[in-house]
């Protein structure tokens, strides 16, 4: 029995990319199956006027309808009549995808360097605020219209990256030069970020015309524009340009890690710090550099949240940074996988809205369904990570049998 488990684990560790994708898809179906039963049974305890009567019990929820809404509702019901790809649900899905790509990349880069950055949220808060403030300030010096767009958006994104990057560098430096554990410091810095941002807001940047804690709105021409003709409408708070930028950044990060000296040193530091030191990597500088890069990506997430979604900074920042951790783990910390994982999260978040509008299933139960999907899809990757560690400490008494490796 134990041998069989070990054999399975071994098999999982050495699974190819195609197999891993197949496993993820299978896990998705398993989650739907379990969730479906759960929804169906829960329906037996709810009260409703119409439902399926079985053995004297009325089952109120139809699992098929729930999953139909979750997956197809998030795309705006493509199988129904008069569907347009530029619908609001799909825009919500893709907006969430875009922001989570940035947040997921932030966490993934740190993970690959062997650092657990829980501070993406704080970096996002600081980066977003700096974006809004910088754009508001710069807007009085640049002309409006097209020129303003071309100038202000890069300035805003850059400000977000710088703000997040510097805020990420703090825990990096604390770790490198004072030995402070980054998990602890980034969590603490999340609270500090929220407090500092709130203080700055009330000190200087509060929108005088609003009772909500938020900055003034940035000029409309400084918001990320939509692509004409194929783009989404401006009211949907989503731009294909932003998604394109996120995908390009994702490819860029993958390239950076795989092809460059810096990426090589970063990965080596993450896997085997002693080998990195032996290979001439300055460990302290690498810690600061990778946390800065990670923070900058978190800051960019904040910048796009401001420039694309709200057109201003609000004190009530959604927990994108924390979702980024789940996205990164789901993607096995692989930059290219982050895109797919972020899309799944986008679908779940937008699809949950669709369920809430179309059915009587309570939002809490919808949360459970999303959670099940994430849990099931992430579990194989999690077992791979743990299995690797297990194999490293010499768990199974099994010499690795990789083809030609035949002896001693």
């Amino acid at each position: 029995m134990r041998d069989d488990l070990e054999r399975l684990l071994e098999r999982l560790i050495h699974a190819s990319v195609a197999e891993r994708v197949a496993i993820s898809v299978a896990a998705l179906f398993a989650a739907i199956l379990v969730g479906g039963v759960l929804v169906f049974v829960s329906g037996g305890f709810a009260s409703c006027r119409a439902g399926l009567d079985l053995a004297g019990v009325t089952f109120c929820y139809n699992p098929i309808q729930v999953y139909y809404e979750l997956f197809l509702g998030s795309l705006g019901h493509p199988l129904e009549g008069d569907w347009s790809p530029m619908n609001y649900s799909l825009a919500t899905t893709l907006r969430q995808t875009t922001l989570l790509i940035f947040a997921g990349l932030s966490v993934a880069v740190a993970f690959r360097a062997g650092l657990f950055n829980i501070g993406t949220q704080g970096q996002l808060v600081i980066g977003g605020l700096l974006t809004a403030v910088t754009v508001l300030f710069a807007a009085s010096y640049v002309p409006g219209g097209f020129v303003g767009t071309v100038l202000l958006i890069p300035i805003g994104v850059l400000a977000g990256a710088v703000g997040g990057g510097l805020y990420g560098a703090i825990p990096g430096a604390l770790k490198a030069y004072a030995g402070a554990n980054e998990v602890i410091t980034t969590i603490m810095l999340n609270f500090i970020a929220a407090g500092v941002a709130s203080t700055l807001l009330s000190w200087r940047f509060q929108d005088p015309d609003s009772a909500n804690p938020q900055t003034r709105a940035i000029p409309e021409y400084a918001e990320i524009p939509n692509v004409p003709v194929v783009g989404f409408s401006g009211r949907m708070d989503f731009s294909l340009l932003a998604l394109g930028f996120a995908v390009a950044l994702m490819i860029g990060i993958a390239w950076l890690l795989a092809r460059t000296s810096f990426g090589y040193e970063l990965r080596t530091s993450g896997i085997q710090p002693k080998a990195a030191a032996y290979g001439g990597v300055d460990e302290k500088r690498m810690t600061v550099a990778s946390m800065t890069l990670s923070g900058a990506l978190g800051g960019i997430a904040g910048a796009f949240w401001v420039l694309m979604e709200h057109g201003r900074w609000l004190e009530n920042v959604p927990a994108l940074g924390f979702d980024g951790i789940a996205v990164s783990i789901l993607a096995g910390n692989n930059p290219l996988g982050v895109g797919a994982a972020a899309f799944l999260f986008g679908v779940l978040s937008s699809g949950s809205n669709a369920i809430n509008t179309a059915t009587d299933v309570p939002p809490e139960l919808v949360g459970v369904l999303s959670g099940l999907i994430i849990l099931f899809v992430a579990m194989p990757e999690f077992f791979r990570m743990m299995g690797r560690r297990y194999a490293d400490v010499g768990g199974p008494e099994r010499t690795r049998s990789t083809g030609g490796e035949a002896d001693d």
């Binding site: 810096f262 032996y278 490796e405 001693d408």
Partner: protein, 536 residues
């Protein structure tokens, strides 16, 4: 039925005297024949050495016996009975135990807990572990075989030699009559090796049978009653140590004549490439482990450092290679004071380093050999252009190293961790020596490497010396430092007790120096001359 070459008394024994009989074992892996029709007859109560180079198929054969692999063809007989082992548990039940090169012990648990793990005697109807009984049984075992191990000691606090005895006890506790030891001496100090020989003797006297895998001629000659040599997966003969010589065995093993002693003709030495003065280093716990060491290595010279592990060699080497900052003293390299130079600058300046620990330092285990080939050169102009690594060039380089240093299997795309220790070492040594260095700092360069490749590595080191490079060599293999070095420094508790001429010193004298015995005053003054580089 008789086996002419077998050593133990009276030549041929009837089949039931064979504790283990492997009959025509063939084991194929996709693309490789690891064992090709191998016969092995091990007599009860004997020590049988299985000798061969890295990759000769020794471990595969023993994994077949231990139930880890199923043989493609052939039979396994234990005590004269044909057996089929599907997993180690079956082999253990049949009285076959295996002690792996890397111990399978839980560091934080006690000796007794480790030994009983998985076989705990129960009390209170299976609700609790009967600790008293475990300790009693272990004490009995220790008495019987003359082991001195404290059953309540925590395994992580024991020396490597003691941990190995715990592994042996574990096998005995499970009722093993046949013990397979995989390269048991690889991790031991010379003194611990002697102790191990004593243990083996005691075990065979009590009727246990030992099969012991090694690639070291001396060990096989010294401790075995019979030696079976494997080469390229085939058994090339079984001999008795009394009727053979080291040279004959080496030839049998490698398939050609081997120079056991590298021979170093004198080379004109040039100026000092590396010099250290008054280097004092503290270890991680703040204890001074290197105390005011002076040394100098000239161009065209090999300076050997001999000493028992843990006498400050590691920290000294780290201070020289830039992995640790010395607390006092200066290090000069190629005329520059490099004491404050980063590791990166030293690498770029032409310092190659074969590190002590290939698993932690020399190789990134989950990377393939292509990625490992650029470790240390990831920013050098040879492989990096404008921050980008030229992976095609790196691949060519990796394949060159693999070919030149006979890394097996010759696949650059396999992860470093999938290679055997000896082949990992060959790759690291190859990468470092082919860096075109001015100075090579090599720690245990041939540890775990078979004699064919050891010979090659020695040749390459001597080539570098001939080309006027400087080599600083640390090794716990005395014959290695003795035969290669031009001058030999002996380190004890962080100080050089003596710097001698390796050609005139005897192994006994060297042993005394390594134990901290000071040389007499007259030789000492001579030695201090030598420290300055020995004018020629």
């Amino acid at each position: 039925m008789s086996e002419p070459g077998t050593a133990t008394g009276g030549g041929a024994g009837p089949n039931e005297d064979l504790a283990v009989h492997l009959d025509g074992i063939t084991k194929r892996f996709p693309g490789v024949v690891a064992n090709d029709d191998v016969d092995l007859r091990v007599e009860r109560g004997s020590v049988h050495a299985l000798l061969g180079e890295n990759g000769a198929g020794k471990t595969t054969l023993m994994n077949v016996l231990y139930g880890l692999y199923e043989p493609t063809e052939g039979r396994v007989l234990v005590d004269g009975e044909p057996r089929q082992f599907d997993r180690p548990r079956d082999a253990i039940d049949a009285g076959v135990g295996m002690i792996h090169q890397h111990f399978m012990l839980v560091d934080t648990m006690t000796v007794a807990e480790n030994i009983a793990l998985g076989n705990e005697p129960k009390k209170w109807g299976g609700l609790a572990v009967d600790r008293d009984r475990i300790e009693r049984e272990i004490a009995d075992l220790c008495d019987r075989y003359g082991f001195s191990v404290d059953p309540s000691a925590t395994v992580g606090e024991l020396s490597v030699g003691a941990q190995q005895r715990v592994e042996i006890l574990k096998a005995l506790y499970r009722g093993a009559d046949v013990l397979i030891l995989d390269e048991p001496t690889a991790v031991l100090t010379p003194q611990e090796v002697e102790d191990l020989y004593g243990v083996l003797e005691e075990l065979t006297e009590q009727g246990k049978t030992i099969i012991f895998i090694t690639h070291k001629l001396g060990e096989a000659m010294h401790s075995a009653d019979a030696i079976t040599v494997l080469r390229d997966g085939k058994s090339v003969g079984t001999v008795a140590p009394a009727t053979t010589t080291r040279e004959d065995l080496a030839e049998l093993m490698v398939g050609r004549e081997v120079l056991l002693e590298a021979d170093s003709d004198p080379v004109e030495t040039g100026g000092a490439i590396l010099s250290a003065s008054n280097v004092t280093v503290e270890n991680d716990r703040g204890v001074e482990v290197v105390s005011g060491i002076d040394l100098e290595v000239r161009a065209g010279e090999i300076l050997g450092i001999a000493g028992v592990d843990g006498n400050g060699q590691s920290e000294l080497i780290e201070a020289i290679t830039g992995l640790r900052t010395p607390d006092e003293g200066t290090v000069r390299f190629d005329g520059d004071d490099v004491t404050d130079w980063s590791r990166r600058r030293r690498i770029d300046g032409g310092m190659a380093h074969v590190p002590e620990d290939r698993h932690e330092q020399g190789l990134v285990m989950p990377f393939d050999l292509v990625e490992n080939a650029v470790l240390g050169s990831q920013r050098s102009p040879r492989f990096a252009h404008g921050g980008r690594i030229d992976w095609a060039g790196v691949r060519d380089h990796a394949e060159d190293v693999i070919g030149t240093y006979d890394v097996r299997p010759p696949t650059a795309d396999a992860d470093a961790e999938s290679f055997s220790g000896g082949n990992q070492q060959k790759f690291v040594v190859g990468r470092e020596l082919e860096r075109d260095p001015d100075l090579v700092v090599a720690t245990h360069p041939t540890r775990g490497v078979d004699i064919g490749s050891t010979e090659f590595i020695h040749e390459r080191l001597l080539d570098l010396r001939r080309e006027g490079k400087a080599v600083l060599l640390v090794s716990s293999a005395l014959d290695e430092v003795q035969s290669l070095s031009d001058r030999l420094a002996v380190i004890y508790e962080g100080e050089f007790v003596d710097v001698t001429d390796p050609d005139t010193i005897t192994e006994e004298e060297l042993g005394l120096l390594m134990a901290g015995e000071r040389p007499s005053e007259t030789t000492k003054s001579e030695a201090s001359d030598l420290v300055e580089g020995g004018d020629r």
